[in-house]
Symmetry: C2
Subunit: 397 residues, 2 copies
Amino acid sequence: MPNEMILQKQKQAAEILQEKNIDMWMTYVRETGNIKDPMMDMIVGTGATWSSAFIITKDGDTTAIIGSLEEANMKTVGTFKNIVPYLKSIKEDLIAAIKKHDPNKIAINFSRNSTLADGLTHGLFLELSDYLKDTPYAERLVSSEEIVAAVRGRKSPAELELMKTAIVETLKIFDEVTEFIEVGKTEKEVAEFVRGLVKERGFGFAWDEEHCPAVFTGPDTAGAHSGPTDKAIQKGHVINMDFGINYKGYCSDLQRTWYVLRDGETEAPNEVQRGFQVIVDSIQMAKDAIKPGKLGWEIDAVARNFIVEKGYEEYPHGLGHQVGRKAHDGGALLGPRWERYGNAPYIPLEVGNVFTIEPRLTIEGFGIATIEEKIVVTENGCEWLSPIQTKIILLKG
Amino acid sequence: MPNEMILQKQKQAAEILQEKNIDMWMTYVRETGNIKDPMMDMIVGTGATWSSAFIITKDGDTTAIIGSLEEANMKTVGTFKNIVPYLKSIKEDLIAAIKKHDPNKIAINFSRNSTLADGLTHGLFLELSDYLKDTPYAERLVSSEEIVAAVRGRKSPAELELMKTAIVETLKIFDEVTEFIEVGKTEKEVAEFVRGLVKERGFGFAWDEEHCPAVFTGPDTAGAHSGPTDKAIQKGHVINMDFGINYKGYCSDLQRTWYVLRDGETEAPNEVQRGFQVIVDSIQMAKDAIKPGKLGWEIDAVARNFIVEKGYEEYPHGLGHQVGRKAHDGGALLGPRWERYGNAPYIPLEVGNVFTIEPRLTIEGFGIATIEEKIVVTENGCEWLSPIQTKIILLKG
């Protein structure tokens, strides 16, 4: 991430702190090579070895308290105004830096609801609580959940530009897959072809390479979140692929559906067309329902109920998630009110949020129809961020 | 990591649970694409999206409780005997799986001392505590610190083989750097050359690519843990490089020192030779002091005191750390008794531990002399894992 974007994000964070009336936000980490708080890339731009505090205040002051061996690096990185190096223990410098601002609250990165606001490990929480136990500040620690959701969720124009480019590059690869697919090729072969293109072009993967892309052909596939198998593409298969790249730190995440014509067919059979159309329509209906202030579960219900009304089983996941530096990003989720989603379906949508819309349904005997599109929430509704799929892609068998 | 090695590590974990009299070890995670418990690669071998529990008991039973969409993938990965998929909430299945074993203690991954045993985020700790609050098990949660230290620290022969290969490949690259270095080239150019070789050969980086390798030339360098700069190599410079690769999941981590001859010189000046020799001797003395049961701070003190006695400033870091799947691995550390190292310098060394030995000192006016070697602890002492550097590498100016 270019430093300029990090400084912008810090500025945005200070504004959000003012809005939420929280005086200080502290990202507290160590050995980020072993386990890294997801906020580090966005607001720091480098790692840390020893216990380190990265502090942003609501007046925009920024302070990094770090092991002395990392002082020179932190200066070179240049994203923090005040750099406080320590040799033996962070405790004294940490307390001094907090006292200087005497914050009403200190937001730290723990959250039951959002994994992106939950980068503080429990051991580090205990350490921090111990260091602050003789000060008034131990009692002023609060979750940074709302701050993280806003900082990550409200995309700047520069962030949206990167995401659009990521989408364009991803759809080029989908087009190349359309040319590559043929009867007899396996899911693994398609995935390998895609991974080759990603590496050749110097992109990263939006998620774990093992499942990126995920490729499913025909009936009785392994289901979402599985790696591609040795199953071969056959005539009469519905094929889908879930895939995204990481382009300069920002992710895409898209799905498309194909159908392989059987002998004598010039279009997909009725039941395939019908299932596919239900997906297309449910996406459009969800898109039409999105606007700032709506709750994610309300949007999910629009698509979910429509699909069930049409006689299909409901999809066993949320309708859509935010995307950003991570494939699953931000706070609010277009998901059902299931315990596993915590409070994420209850967070109001905000201008600048980027969501996927990705319902799925099974077409018995053929495979799974699923499309994944992307929208950005605007003042009055939302806009497509990706050119949408409206017709199933037909392949000669 | 091949599944075979994961199954071996699970078996070793069960033995360690017996040794420590802890009935159950649970790695509790979610959205590992955003933040990943460092134990996942070693004992699971795939990621997880929704709250998931990976349980190993002291009788060697293994249970994965995961979101239903990841059931097929978990079966394909094949590292857990019992797979329990859930749709809406993990709570009931989690409690049932624990009750079945009625453990005396449940080790979970939090630790003030070891970041590798501290993969449980504070938000997930709160979730887990809440789910278990009406059972006897909330009170039986303990730190997995000792288990993680043993599982990661006691290297199997298969692990040592991979680490040796990583070292051989790393030293080949050091040799190529010796050929590449010349007056006028910058630290950044050397680093770029090295990164090119790593990528060409399909290796990973042992740590953050930005600082891997770290290259320092001449006096007044930025210091350890900094990225390479535009500073150019000059005659009379002492140069050092800190570099490691990731080879099939296992890391190397080595340092070597060069000297660029000035006009008329055929060897390094006395003060350079003297400083370099102090480093060589301190490494040998530390190596001679290592055996099972010794404490890390005792070993650190051997090298540290010797360097100070010889009139140099003490190094502002630990003498050495464990290496494994991470460049900084395991529990015990060859470090001084400074607060920032927690209890790590007080943990007894064990057979199979792999440590770096990496003292440093400044040669005024020339640069920094530092060598990093690797040893493995044996029944009676320790053995070099890397061919050692005993002479400063001379380069024609």
